[in-house]
């Protein structure tokens, strides 16, 4: 059987160090393949043990004692032990840390090595999602000797070790013969970077690629479905796609105007037009596949008449709003559709297409925008609504209180309740227009099995991938 697989990805990672960069593409190459953390995400989003075999949580929820797996080696041959864990966590939360998700480690008070196979982490306050946090790619365990070079030459403990990186083209991973866990079934995995959707389509069609787990052009899936050579894998992601509004900027500081905008939007048209039908409508900032999800879409149902009425009530007419669109096609296409829909209720929009760098500068940092479309792909990120100076500028006090309670809550039922309250709160306040949950639209050779259908985190876990005879 074939022993290698070539996987297409739209974006090339800028570097290969998941602890030193935010780009999703880094995790998509190395997460679970090259690097592992104490815990990890399973295909269904559950938290599984990884380098930590097991753990105990103290009753006050402040102390986590991790029992580490033994006999684990880094790819450079050195042994993995508790010192590496302490090094990794301390490095990530240090003052000069360049870890993009430093907040994940904010609650850690200290990390102590109990013995080579045991680490004790003490928190400054209880954190119900700490094990979830340690599963992130940004929390993987690295070795002190090689940490500095991971950007170009990653060394981890995973089932694959780094082979070669031909910049602009591909990264090769090769099987790690000394892997502690179940042996993987591929000798070599190549991640090939093809940013252009047409090229991606052509490459799949021409057989240059074996799979494209997040295929960038949903419009082409029909053709793959019609072709027996391919299987199309549709799953869910953690990406809530929203029409973000600048809550502090007039007239968007008026809840009536925001509500009017949400009623002007026909979600299904956007899903059909921009995503060719792939995507689940959402009514709040929460993933529909999460058990705690509440369907609030009816609250902001498509109703142009009501939108017009609300605008009249708010006393705004001749409204012109800027709509800044980052590069992904959900935003560019969705933006065109939303602009047309807003036009129907009398809101004019000025579309500006921006690059990510500009988006970050202009929208995210300077908050110089009225509307923008973006998909928030981090798992469980409703907490951003509690951030005062986050770009859409919500930061409501009541909402913050809910979040604080949630952080302290460990009881699952209580947590669910709080999460639902949070969902309702932002829907009631019409903070943003909630459009749809991004679908994970993957294509693969029909014989390639074991790919993740969903994206509980940004990853292409190749551990269980194999070729069917």
């Amino acid at each position: 059987a074939k022993m290698d697989a070539t996987i297409g990805m739209q974006l090339e990672p800028p570097n290969l160090d998941p602890t030193g960069g935010a780009a999703a593409a880094i995790d998509e190459v190395v997460y679970a393949n090259v690097f592992e953390g104490l815990t990890r995400f399973g295909a269904d989003g559950s938290i599984l043990p990884a380098l930590a075999e097991s753990w105990e949580i103290s009753d006050d929820g402040l102390t986590y004692t991790f029992n580490l797996r033994e006999g684990v080696k880094f790819h450079d041959g050195s042994d993995f032990n508790a010192d590496d864990v302490k090094f990794s966590l301390d490095r990530a939360r240090a003052d000069d840390s360049t870890n993009a998700q430093k907040a994940l480690f904010a609650d850690i008070a200290s990390v102590d090595v109990v013995d080579p196979a045991t680490v004790k982490v003490t928190l400054s306050k209880p954190n119900g999602s700490f094990l979830f946090n340690t599963a992130w790619g940004d929390a993987v365990i690295v070795a002190p000797e090689t940490a500095a070079d991971n950007a170009a030459k990653p060394v981890g403990t995973g089932p694959f070790s780094f082979g070669e990186w031909v910049k602009g083209d591909r990264v090769d991973l090769v099987r790690n013969p000394d892997y502690w866990g179940e042996a993987v079934r591929l000798d070599k995995v190549t991640f090939k970077f093809i940013s252009d959707p047409t090229a991606a389509f052509a490459a799949m069609m021409a057989g240059d690629l074996d799979a494209f787990p997040v295929f960038p052009a949903p419009e082409n899936l029909v053709q793959f479905e019609a072709d027996p050579r391919f299987s199309v894998i549709i799953g869910s992601t953690e990406g809530e796609t929203i029409l973000a509004m600048n809550n502090k900027k007039a007239p968007l500081d008026n809840i009536k105007v925001r509500q009017a905008i949400t009623h002007a939007i026909d979600r299904q048209a956007i899903i059909d037009g921009a995503m060719f039908g792939y995507g689940t409508p959402i009514g709040t900032h929460f993933a529909p596949h999460n058990p705690a999800y509440v369907d609030l879409t009816a609250q902001s149902a498509y109703d142009p008449e009501q939108a017009k009425a609300l605008l009249a009530e708010a006393g705004v007419s001749d409204l012109t709003l800027t709509l800044k669109l980052p590069p992904p096609s959900y935003a560019r296409r969705g933006g065109e559709i939303i602009a047309a829909q807003l036009r129907e209720v009398g809101i004019a929009t000025e579309i500006t297409n921006v690059e990510w760098a500009q988006w970050l500068e202009d929208v995210f940092k300077a908050k110089n925008f009225d509307l923008t479309i973006v998909s928030h792909t981090e798992p469980m990120d409703i907490g951003i609504y509690g951030r005062e100076d986050y770009y859409f500028q919500y930061g409501d006090a009541d909402f913050k209180a809910i979040m604080a309670d949630l952080a302290n809550a460990t009881d699952p039922a209580k947590r669910t309740e709080l999460m639902q309250a949070a969902q309702k709160k932002i829907a009631d306040d019409y903070v943003n227009g909630y459009l749809f949950q991004l679908a994970r639209t993957g294509v693969a050779d029909a014989k390639l099995k074991g790919l993740w259908p969903n994206s509980p985190t940004q990853a292409n876990d190749m551990t269980g991938v194999y070729w069917e005879e």
Partner: protein, 316 residues
């Protein structure tokens, strides 16, 4: 002639200095901060500041310019912000694709254009001339990215003769590499060949009208002999200029084609670097391209001298 060349070289070097300034300043005013780009949407502000310091982005402007230029002079292009590897390494990897692609396209375009242009000029106003000129008009009018799309559709997706793009690397062997560059080279060569054929034709027609062609015929040379022995070399001079221009155009101008065929070439490197605000890569690649243009211009001047003995004496 040497004096002329020297002067030309000096003035070109001045251009290079001016170019370095322009490019540096343009990149400075481009909105967008490389550090925030790298750290992403939910990044901790403190982490971004730390990264800025680490990258040296907070140094004063003149200092950064000077250290960049000083580095360039020593052949040190700096370290890419995003890739964190020396820019020179990035560039040399990319040049290994862009340069062969450029040469390939140029060779194709010359191979098509010369015979076509010569045929059209020699048989002026004939059916052959009209059809060659018609074809070149069309060739100039077709946007090359559109042509590339059609090529992929036909030859990669439908016929599956070529792969749709990508580059296996030279280590995969000469022929596979050449095969991967074939469709892109054709897409690039089509408009260039059309332009070149037109220039060849008109230059040759001008030469054919020269007095010395009549002299040659009066000596008893046939039309073909006169064309080969007397017209071609004289007609070559404007053609050389165009080839020189095309070289530089292709070297940088492949951006879009490199995108369509996802070739990791220089053009795509800068394009990507611009979107990622990897200023240092953009600066260095652009200055390198400007340098290439200047060197090529200079070589074309030398080639002129070889083709036209009058220039060896006089100033152009």
């Amino acid at each position: 002639m040497t004096a002329y060349l020297l002067r030309r070289f000096l003035s070109l070097s001045l251009s290079l200095v001016a170019a370095s300034l322009v490019i540096f300043l343009v990149m400075e005013v481009v909105p967008g901060d490389p550090a925030s780009f790298m750290m992403g949407i939910n990044a901790d502000p403190a982490a971004v500041v730390a990264l800025r310091t680490q990258l040296g982005l907070d140094d004063p402007l003149p200092l950064r310019y000077l250290s960049w230029v000083a580095g360039l002079l020593q052949g040190d292009f700096g370290v890419s912000y995003t890739y964190r590897v020396p820019v020179s390494e990035l560039i040399s990897e990319r040049v290994a694709i862009s340069l062969p692609l450029t040469l390939y396209a140029l060779a194709l375009s010359t191979l098509i254009a010369f015979p076509a242009g010569i045929l059209a000029a020699a048989k002026r106003n004939s059916a052959a001339d009209v059809s060659v000129m018609g074809a070149t008009q069309l060739g100039v009018a077709i946007p090359n990215f559109w042509f590339a799309m059609i090529l992929v559709l036909v030859f990669a997706i439908n016929l599956r003769w070529f792969s749709a793009g990508g580059f296996p690397g030279w280590e995969a062997g000469f022929w596979p590499a050449i095969k991967a560059l074939t469709l892109p080279a054709i897409a690039l060569a089509l408009p260039q060949a059309s332009i070149l054929a037109r220039v060849m034709r008109s230059s040759l027609i001008d030469t054919l009208d020269e007095d010395f062609m009549r002299t040659a015929r009066a000596k008893g040379l046939s039309r073909g002999q006169a064309l080969r022995r007397h017209a071609l070399r004289n007609a070559l001079i404007p053609v050389l200029t165009i080839i020189g221009l095309q070289f530089s155009f292709l070297l940088a101008g492949g951006i879009i084609i490199e995108n369509v065929f996802y070739l990791p070439g220089l053009g795509r490197l800068v394009f990507q670097a611009i979107t990622q605000r990897d200023l240092i890569v953009v600066r260095s690649v652009v200055i390198l391209l400007v340098f290439a243009v200047i060197v090529v211009t200079f070589l074309v001047d030398l080639a002129y001298a070889a083709a036209d003995p009058r220039l060896r004496r006089r100033r152009a």
